[in-house]
Symmetry: C2
Subunit: 569 residues, 2 copies
């Protein structure tokens, strides 16, 4: 390892030179070259996806407890980044990494980041962001149109209308959802007579004025945790996120939702519940499935509730006609959130929140004397964040470079990979798939063929028998075996992390064939266009091989259930 | 102008190639070169700071109402960015641009952005951010130590302790402040008996359980608008931000604060007020002045209130010993927010929020099955945002490259520029400076010498007279003239925007010599190390020249006040 860089004395002339692009850009190019090679190495490097270094080892590398005092040479710090940081970063762009909603990104994104940093605009204010404010509005209009599809004249009128905002560019989906629920809360408890509105007077007076005991957000059990976070932040309380069970397709159970809504309407007096928002999910984080947005929209309209669609994952699929039918009903939403760092293949992180009604964001509009004056055209009047980067350049340029056409091909590749993985897993025999992928996410578990068949047999028997004691006994067996298989899959996942040549993630779900039992599942997100059939075969082979090895530790426990039992023929 | 790029057909092979760094990095380098030149041109270009294009003209450029369908060549899109976006961006790095908390940035930041984009880590989770999670914790510990200065063993123990968080990296100061007040609210209304805490049950039940009618945040009139925003979001209500007047040094009036706090303590029964947080400001947005943090900390401790310091602007000054006395008392805070895109000279945007008590962020800790599991070490358990970029690499590397020493020199240059500008303005005779810069912000107004002297004379006379009617008359005159000068400065600011060779910002303040009258002021933020004495002279000369020209339109109105009046000798 190279020795730590020599100490240098700080002097203002040297520092000033750091602040200007060197007159001849040679030095910049030189560093750029080095960096490029470093990045290239990072992607080419054989070996693990997560690097083999342990977390305690990393703790010992990054244990400098005080701010550095003496300046160091740029090249020394870049070298330090290379050896300490880049070498131990996660290769999220690796085609064998199919575990999270992250993928390889197009290399032009790196160029766009250079432009964004060099311009260093602050989107909060027109005085610090001139053309970039207009780019942002254009991008927002594009997505508004994709979702709500109002008339050309509507967009001509509003695309650059500074009096309103069709939506915001946010730092991520969590802030997008928070923005939506802030508006929803505002609309649930607006100014009325001598009540100045929840924004001015707070949640307690709002509930009191309107005669409610609480405000709730209704969402399926598949809802993202940011929804609870928003309920906490907004002072509604996490317990007032009412989780409706998901059906076997991981979609909100519409009947259960409707019953719940009706039960709220029957409440009388001071115990009444205000529905702040009904939420639909367009691409659940865990399974990628889509709620029945049409029915949700109808119910929301029927009861006069705000309807938000969390489409952080799936919203961008609207770029491709073929997905418009599965997302049908999204146009009924009051607001829709979409993440650019997911299906738009942008780097971390950028969200969008779009509002059907162009006046809705005015409910949270703010002004101040020194920035975003009342009569200003500043974008910052409408956002939750203050200072914001010119991040919108990335999806704006990507949509031009890739085009709807190109995204169509990328999604087609993702869909085919999802289908392939399902087939490969089912062919293998030792896996059970647990959802029908709608948006490139497949969940499944490792379960040796004999066990899978035994459970199938039990289920058949249970259906056939009229003997209740017998049925209960079978159910108990299934539960016991599932418990064993849960342990097996947790252990398998940990072993796969150690093996580190492939990566899928892991979660636990209640809405499967075995409900209400929670089932541990492996989760593959198949959006990397560099992932292909051969790679998927290798991934499954690895899981099968390691899984069968681990199974030995679990087999006897299984056999005890299976054989200590007259069910077995 | 070049013709719009030729249409190209999307094909998957072409798209896949976008996703990998080309085998030979030539193409990347080629684009990199072009970009570099474009960026270089942007900075070198003569002409206006904001570009002369009007907002309506920009509206017509960015008026494409539908998402592009066909893919375009990267070079065509880069060309479009160059001509439409870069050409009409604000030159925030120009040394004549001294109007906002934004400056030139060191060019190595662009290299760091390349690394961040290429690695594309998502800080939410260790499975998507390995070494980068450790970098973040190290950076957070550095700032924690700068502020709270606990023992070496404390930092050894906690710097990489995944069970707690000493603070968060956020998307900006607004989210930092929001995080602080979320924790403050949680600590104001914690779980108690059968009350599960405000997080679980919401604001209304929290107030009811603890027997309060409202929760308030106390801050000076100089407080940033993000504090009101947070009070709205958190369900406390904007009207429950209690603004305490600032003194002539733009610091919170401690006596008035103390009176207010005591008045809350005298409240009885159901009308009681809970103090959620007392806020100190370390570098007000408008004037850069610093509250008396020591006294604020004492009062907060006395009444058992949470104490937050908004040091988004000034916190980084702690890097340099010479500022530690003016920031004294900051170590008494429960939390401190600092922005990296301000005095750390990082690109937009990144904030930090630090908590004195390493357990405080546990009050908002969240978990989910698919990400940030309960037993995980994921950073996302503690943050308001979900997906977050590896932004912390920028200040982390900058602190190594520039060092505390280097920041010392940068701040020295900023301090000298502030002092110089004050002197130049005062020497000119036609300006009145209105604060003593502590952290590189100077406010002042254009006021022709004769008018300034007339007001001085009136003030002297008013002090001398015992005739109340006379005193009132003089006061009325001063008010009238100030009103005229307000109009003059608004008009001057607009004319300067049109001239566009220099830039300062404008605001309106109540705490000046002329309180309670609001005074329109020009505001210079002097942190660009490329700004120098000669440039400051030019800026003042331009303002004086244009100001004197505009003054002609205002002079007769002034003379009417000044001469229609026996005051004038």
């Amino acid at each position: 390892m190279r020795k730590r860089g020599k100490k240098i004395e700080a002097n203002l002339e040297y520092l000033r030179k750091l602040f200007i692009m060197p007159d001849s850009p040679d030095k910049f190019i030189e560093f750029g070259h080095e960096l490029l090679e470093m990045i290239h190495d990072f992607f080419k490097e054989k070996g693990g996806i997560h690097s083999s270094i342990t977390l305690p080892e990393l703790s010992r590398i990054f244990n400098q407890t005080a701010v550095p005092s003496d300046p160091q040479l740029i090249k020394d710090v870049l070298y330090e980044i290379k050896t300490k940081v880049t070498a131990h970063s996660v290769k999220v762009g690796n085609p064998y990494y199919v575990g999270h909603m992250i993928s390889a990104i197009p290399y032009f994104m790196i160029l766009l980041e250079m432009i964004i940093a060099a311009l260093n605009q602050n989107q909060v204010k027109i005085e610090t962001a001139k053309a970039s404010s207009f780019v942002e509005r254009e991008l927002v209009a594009w997505f508004h149109r994709l979702i709500f599809n109002k008339s050309e004249s509507y967009y001509q009128k509003h695309i650059q209308n500074p009096k309103i905002a069709l939506g915001n560019v946010t730092s991520d989906g969590t802030i997008s959802n928070l923005t939506a629920f802030t508006v929803a809360r505002e609309k649930a408890f607006p100014p009325d007579g001598d009540f100045a509105g929840v924004r001015e007077e707070g949640v307690q007076r709002a509930l009191k004025h309107y005669g409610y005991s609480r405000g709730v957000i209704l969402v399926s059990a598949r809802g993202h945790y940011s929804i609870k976070k928003a309920a906490n932040l907004l002072g509604l309380g996490e317990e007032n996120v009412v989780c409706i069970p998901a059906d076997l397709n991981h979609r909100i159970d519409i009947d259960r939702l409707y019953q719940k809504v009706k039960s709220f309407r029957r409440e009388k007096g001071r115990r009444r519940t205000k529905i702040v928002s009904i939420v639909g999910i367009a691409g659940t984080t865990e399974t990628g499935n889509i709620d029945d947005l049409t029915r949700l929209g109808e119910i929301a309209r029927e009861v006069g509730a705000y309807f938000h669609v969390d489409a952080c994952w799936g919203g961008s699929a609207l770029l491709v006609d073929e997905y418009s039918s599965s997302l049908k009903g999204i146009e009924k939403a009051d607001s829709v959130s979409i993440d650019a760092h997911k299906l738009l293949y942008c780097p971390m992180a950028m969200g969008l929140i779009l509002f059907r009604n162009e006046r809705d964001l005015n409910t949270i509009k703010q002004t101040s004397q020194y920035v975003i004056r009342r009569d200003s055209v500043d974008t910052g009047r409408f956002t939750i964040e203050g200072s914001r980067p010119f991040a919108c350049l990335k999806p704006w340029a990507a949509l031009k470079i890739i085009g709807r056409q190109g995204y169509g091909l990328l999604f087609k590749s993702a869909r085919e990979n999802s289908k392939s993985l399902k087939e490969i897993l089912e062919r293998s025999g030792n896996f059970e798939t647990l959802n029908t992928p709608e948006l490139f996410i497949l969940i499944y578990r490792f379960i040796p063929r004999a066990v899978r068949e035994q459970i199938q047999e039990w289920r058949k028997q249970k259906k056939a028998t009229r003997d209740k004691t017998r049925a209960k006994e079978i159910e108990r067996n299934i539960r016991k075996v599932n418990h064993i298989i849960n342990g097996l899959n947790i252990k398998l996942h940990k072993a796969l992390r150690r093996d580190d040549t492939t990566f899928v993630s892991r979660t636990k779900l209640e809405s499967t064939l075995y409900r209400p039992q929670n089932i541990v599942v492996l989760r593959a997100v198949l959006i990397n266009p560099l992932t292909n059939n051969a790679i998927l075969n290798e991934i499954v082979e690895t899981q099968n091989r390691i899984g069968m090895k681990i199974w030995k530790e679990f087999e006897s426990a299984y056999l005890k259930v299976a054989t200590g039992n007259s069910v077995n023929p």
